[in-house]
């Protein structure tokens, strides 16, 4: 008999498949009404734009407004980036993710010795108020939406820069648009606590996080602020359940800190938004987004007692999963990103940004960024998927999976609560252990072929058969020299007494516990640089990381 079984021709044999989602939820052969027993349309789904927002945060969704197709821009000097933004705005991009270089993301000036070889490499360098003014040279803070990939403490300085630019341009703060990224923990990709605390104390970072929220929610009603960067967390290798749970648990921990500061939940939560990843498991991702919206609405209404319906509505932007892409046969990454984009759209995203097909080989090029935009435009304008709200709503499978994801995410959130909330989980290393376990599991699943990865553990080709692609060229030393020269002149040309007084005011305000945003605005007007603002705040906390003169 055994011989007979092996004699089945290959084309007839069943391929080996695993019937579970990426996060390990079982998938049955068929879903029927039995799988959504007790389903109550009004309670579980409701009208789009109304509690519990399962079908979408807004009525009409993409019929009213297609999602924002964000274009990633930022390299070299502010002048180069500003020219690029002008070109892209003229050719149809309506929102920008501005990436910054690593020194800026840690609050170092371009001429800091620690910045050597890093200036302008991963994004634009921003060290002075003048740099930010340059970025707005061809646009205005009340017309074009920027999202700077940044985090506290640095986002306190860039927020102050934005406010100063608005002031100089005669735009009142209540008219400023855009998204202020403000996640203290996940922004720096990677899990370790070290990345947050190497250059700035953790308590100081959290204080500036809440300072930013207070400043935005009381003065800048049109500015979104991003509470959780779930994308970067997911990129470490966590699964969809951990992704959802850690993203929400983080937001709720920050909201708790805002309430402790005395901020009104009906005001500060109004413009809170999320940045989430979309991975490759199509239905699991869609179910994740729908489950998250429902959990958010319930928690905001019940636990935080928000009465303003705007504060029940979870809004998010999505980036397709960079860690689902392969270095091998990079062209097929375009298809992966398209599938992920489609899942994000079925999941009701407000803004989408796709990872570039060349990300396994280098930083994205203009060509690969354009393909991302075109992919979205095909989905938005050609496929017709935007023409009705939540087209998959009511599917036995999707509703069943949405319910199961909601339960699984809530359970995982309860685990975070048991460990003292998310900030505490970061502090104790619990989160890092969760991340590391997930990373090892991913590698084992790819090694063992449990998780198929085309081009890596199946359907490989030899390196000689790869089709060459354009690769991003880095001019790190050239940018570094130009910036160092610029900063030397900037420092020489300032009123040294006014500068010293402004530095002293940072020190005093920090120690008094004042909201730092207006204080930093004052410093920027007196030509204090990004790096100097941070140095003054570090000194006020008695914190130093420098050793041996660097």
């Amino acid at each position: 008999m055994a011989d007979k079984a092996t004699a089945i021709p290959a084309w007839k044999a069943k391929e080996e498949q695993l019937f579970e989602t990426g996060a390990g939820l079982e998938i049955k052969e068929l879903y029927t009404p039995d799988d959504i027993q007790g389903f109550d349309y009004n309670r579980d789904l409701g009208v789009p734009g109304e509690y519990p927002f399962t079908r979408g945060p807004y009525p009409g969704m993409y019929r009213e407004r297609i999602w924002t197709r964000r274009f990633q821009v930022g390299f070299g000097t502010p002048q180069e980036t500003s020219e690029r933004i002008r070109y892209l705005a003229e050719t149809g991009a309506n929102g920008f993710v501005i990436t910054i270089d690593l020194p800026t993301s840690y609050g170092f000036d371009s001429d800091d010795p620690i910045s050597r070889g890093e200036v302008g490499v991963t994004g634009v360098a921003i060290s002075t108020l003048e740099d930010m003014e340059t970025l707005y040279e061809h646009t205005s803070p009340d017309s074009v939406s920027y999202a700077l990939s940044i985090r506290p403490p640095v986002s306190a300085v860039t927020l102050a820069m934005l406010c100063c630019v608005a002031e100089k341009r005669g735009v009142s703060l209540d008219r400023v648009v855009g998204t202020q990224q403000n996640d203290p923990f996940y922004q720096m990709s990677g899990g370790p606590l070290q990345t947050h605390t190497q250059f700035f104390p953790l308590d100081g970072i959290l204080r500036l996080t809440i300072d930013n929220i207070e400043h935005i929610s009381t003065r800048m009603p049109r500015l979104n602020w991003m509470v959780t960067n779930g994308y970067n967390l997911r990129e470490t290798g966590t699964d969809a359940i951990q992704d959802g749970a850690f993203s929400l648990a983080h937001a709720f921990d920050i909201f708790r800190m805002c309430s402790e500061r005395g901020l009104d939940v009906n005001v500060f939560a109004r413009r809170a938004s999320f940045f989430l990843s979309c991975s490759i498991d199509f239905f699991e991702e869609i179910a994740k987004y729908r489950a998250l919206r429902r959990l958010y609405a319930k928690t905001m209404r019940e636990r935080f007692a928000a009465t303003n319906p705007e504060c029940w509505r979870m809004r998010f932007s999505v980036q397709s999963g960079g860690n689902t892409l392969t270095t091998q046969q990079p062209q097929i990454n375009i298809i992966r990103a398209a599938m992920e984009c489609l899942a994000a759209v079925f999941g009701g995203a407000q803004s989408v940004h796709l990872s570039s097909y060349d990300e396994g080989l280098g930083l994205p090029t203009e060509e690969s960024s354009r393909i991302n935009l075109r992919t979205q435009q095909v989905i938005a304008y050609e496929t017709g998927v935007t023409k009705t709200v939540d087209p998959l709503g009511g599917s036995y499978y999707l509703e069943n999976l949405t319910n199961r994801m909601e339960v699984a995410i809530a359970d995982k959130m309860a685990e975070v609560e048991e460990h003292g909330g998310l900030a505490e989980c970061v502090r104790t290393g619990w989160l890092e252990r969760q991340i590391n376990e997930a990373r090892y599991k991913n590698q084992r699943d790819i090694d063992s072929n449990r998780r198929p990865l085309i081009g890596v553990n199946r359907y490989r080709i030899s390196p000689e058969d790869e089709i060459p692609i354009k690769i991003h060229k880095i001019k790190a030393s050239e940018w570094g020299e130009r910036r160092a020269d610029y900063l030397r002149r900037y420092r020489e040309g300032r009123d040294q007494t006014a500068w010293a007084d402004a530095m002293a005011r940072i020190d005093r305000a920090w120690k008094e516990g004042a909201n730092m945003v207006p204080v930093i605005m004052d410093a920027l007007r007196n030509k204090v640089t990004m790096g100097e603002c941070h140095e003054a705040m570090r000194q006020a906390q008695g914190f130093s990381f420098r050793k041996g003169g660097r």
Binding site: L102, P103, S105, Y106, F108, I114, S115, R116, G117, E118, V121, T122, M188, S189, G190, G191, P192, Q194, T195, Q198, E235, T236, G237, N323, T326, T327, Q328, E359, G360, L361, G362, L363, N436, R439, Y440, N442, Q443, I446, D447, L453, G455, V456, N457, I471, H472, I474, A476, R550
Partner: protein
């Protein structure tokens, strides 16, 4: 007597993408290596000093954000100055042309994303033999 080979892994510069290197560290431990992982933001002289103090057989550094050339050169220079002669392995997002340049600089191998663990182990043994 067989002694386990000792490997020093480190991230250099400001890049904090550590998924690759943290995974490699664990896979190497599971395959019989003794791994010392220094974490993020190490300077070249710190890596070299640790390599000497720990008497390692191999140094591995990983980059995602475009610093591979600057940082690897600094590491190799610091090694030369300290007269430390152990093989260096790079990993991460490194364009093929740059990988070639790194090898010309003296790097023993450049591991690309998507390398399966058994292949990694074969390449590491090749460097060490």
């Amino acid at each position: 007597m067989t002694s386990r080979k000792r490997v020093l892994l480190a991230k250099m510069g400001l890049d904090c993408h550590d998924t690759g290197i943290a995974t490699v560290a664990q896979m190497m431990r599971e395959n019989g290596y003794e791994v010392i992982y220094m974490g993020l933001h190490n300077y070249a002289d710190e890596v070299v000093n640790t390599a000497i103090a720990e008497d390692v057989d191999l140094i591995g550094v990983s980059f995602l954000s475009g610093q591979h050339e600057t940082q690897t050169r600094e590491l190799l220079d610091a090694m030369k100055q300290a007269e430390l002669n152990v093989p260096v392995m790079c990993g991460g997002i490194i364009p093929p042309d740059d990988a070639q340049a790194l090898k010309q600089m003296g790097v023993a191998d450049v591991i690309e994303p998507g390398t399966l663990t058994p292949d990694l182990m074969t390449r590491v043994s090749a460097i060490l033999s």
